[in-house]
């Protein structure tokens, strides 16, 4: 869980200045870096990815005065190094990895077990957000996901040809649309939850 960080304003400014000399660009890099580190902690099966991201920034904040003047290279690598140290420390303290033996695979697809109310709320949010993204993007998403399993590969290759782009470029294009669609759905679900 994310926690309130007692980061000092002047040190926070130092971190921003280290990430990029342009303060506004630095703010973007900062937000992106937070999200990406959280993602890495998730990939490493850490139990509290957001809390660990906070901890990385807390630790860097304490050392930024000393490290920044002599550090060579992309500062994000330094943050990554601190994240690695944290993961190792955490592994020593607690069992963060879920053992494959602990997983009950007799269950079906996990998403089938959710309750009906959640599914209805999600469907409503999906419909609302599909209206927001515009018809071009909506049609691309629909075409991209129209086929499953083996058939989808051929289908997507022909879809990429139709747009005159490569398959990886099509995947990235769809990824960007879907990312904004998912964010819209997340916001919508959050609003619904707050109203209840």
């Amino acid at each position: 869980m994310a926690r309130d960080s007692a980061i000092q304003p002047e040190r926070f400014e130092q971190i921003l200045a280290w990430l990029n000399p342009d303060r506004e660009r630095a703010a973007e890099v900062y937000v992106q870096l937070r999200n990406d580190l959280t993602k890495i902690f998730i990939w490493r099966s850490c139990s509290d990815p957001e809390g660990m991201t906070d901890e990385v920034f807390d630790r860097v904040e304490k050392k930024v005065d000393a490290v920044r003047p002599t550090y060579k290279g992309d500062p994000r690598h330094y943050f990554h190094g601190v994240a690695n140290i944290l993961i190792k420390e955490n592994l020593k303290k607690i069992k963060t990895h879920v053992s494959l033996d602990d997983i009950d695979l007799s269950n079906q697809q996990i998403t089938e077990t959710e309750n009906e109310a959640e599914a209805i709320a999600r469907e409503e949010c999906l419909q609302s957000c599909l209206q927001e993204i515009g018809s071009d993007k909506r049609e691309l998403i629909q075409a991209y996901y129209a086929e499953q399993k083996q058939a989808k590969i051929d289908h997507r290759i022909s879809l990429a040809k139709k747009f005159g782009i490569t398959l990886p470029a099509l995947r990235v294009r769809v990824f960007r649309i879907r990312e904004s669609l998912e964010e819209c759905i997340e916001r919508c679900l959050k609003r619904k939850a707050q109203r209840q």
């Binding site: 990406d36 990939w43 992309d74 994000r76 494959l100 697809q109 599914a119 999600r122 759905i185 916001r187």
Partner: protein
């Protein structure tokens, strides 16, 4: 020196925790510092999620996937969202044509008619089309007229000269870009009898600045949106665009503002989104 890119197969192995520590470190570094590689990793993660939802993973990969991506409620919620999008797309393609009931109605009409069947359909279709076109045209004309009037009012209210004036019964509010996650709570705008105009300050947090901006405002859940063009950015400590809206145009509910920078050639540039709630 730029590091080498990573193959799709290696990305999938990475996402399933099947690579050694050196390889994992390399991919994580690329993920953090190379925006193209970052998008590739996240796209590959989505492909993996799709394969899981289609039950196309091997037993071992499925075990690994569940251990990594389906443990927490948040992860399961994200899986649910992807599943909803896929289900919707497939549903759209496979949904049957809903014309069966209409055909039977036409068949009944045709059976009762004294006119030769060959003429019934063209006459009826022509009459229906004429009625529908007339209704749609009248309705659209009224809606367009109302829409244009509101956009003109908004444009007038947001000219540089109007913005220099401080009208009475105006309330100002600072909004935050929706992309700045976890920053603040959604801003609430409270309607009151003595408030005539709301002035919303929209901070522009992107690096590039533009000579003009365009805002589009809509109430969530409704199709209609209003566009306000030729807005100017102002820097009084924090670069922002001011947008004034008559209070009577806002109803109770959530609103979304999309603010985009306008390039020199008139095309839209990057976009920021702002959400706010209107309450009575």
């Amino acid at each position: 020196m730029k590091e080498e890119t990573v193959s799709d197969a290696l990305l999938r192995a990475f996402l399933l925790g099947k690579v050694d520590d050196d390889e994992r470190q390399r991919i994580e570094r690329l993920f953090l510092t190379d925006s193209q590689e970052r998008e590739r990793v996240l796209s590959a993660e989505q492909d993996l999620i799709e394969d899981y939802l289609e039950d196309s993973l091997t037993t071992e990969d499925k075990q690994r996937f569940i251990a990594l991506y389906a443990q927490t409620p948040e992860q399961r919620r994200k899986l649910g969202i992807t599943k909803s999008i896929k289900d919707w797309a497939i549903r759209e393609v496979t949904s049957p044509e809903a014309s069966g009931a209409e055909v039977s109605v036409w068949a009944r009409l045709r059976a009762k008619s004294w006119v030769k069947p060959v003429f019934v359909i063209p006459i009826a279709v022509a009459a229906m089309i004429a009625i529908v076109i007339a209704l749609v045209w009248l309705n659209n004309r009224e809606q367009n007229r109302r829409h244009l009037a509101i956009e003109q009012e908004l444009a007038q209210l947001n000219t540089p000269s109007s913005l220099r004036e401080i009208p009475p019964q105006m309330v100002s509010k600072d909004l935050s870009p929706a992309a700045v996650r976890g920053a603040e709570k959604e801003t609430e705008v409270r309607k009151a009898d003595d408030v005539r105009i709301f002035e919303l300050r929209l901070p522009w947090v992107q690096r590039d600045r533009y000579s003009s901006y365009q805002a589009q405002i809509k109430r969530l859940g409704e199709d209609e949106s209003y566009t306000i063009r030729s807005l100017q950015g102002e820097d009084d400590g924090r670069y922002a665009v001011r947008l004034r809206i008559p209070a009577r145009l806002l109803n109770r509910g959530q609103y979304l503002i999309r603010l985009s920078g306008i390039n020199a050639d008139g095309t839209s540039g990057p976009l920021e989104e702002y959400l706010f709630t209107v309450n009575d």
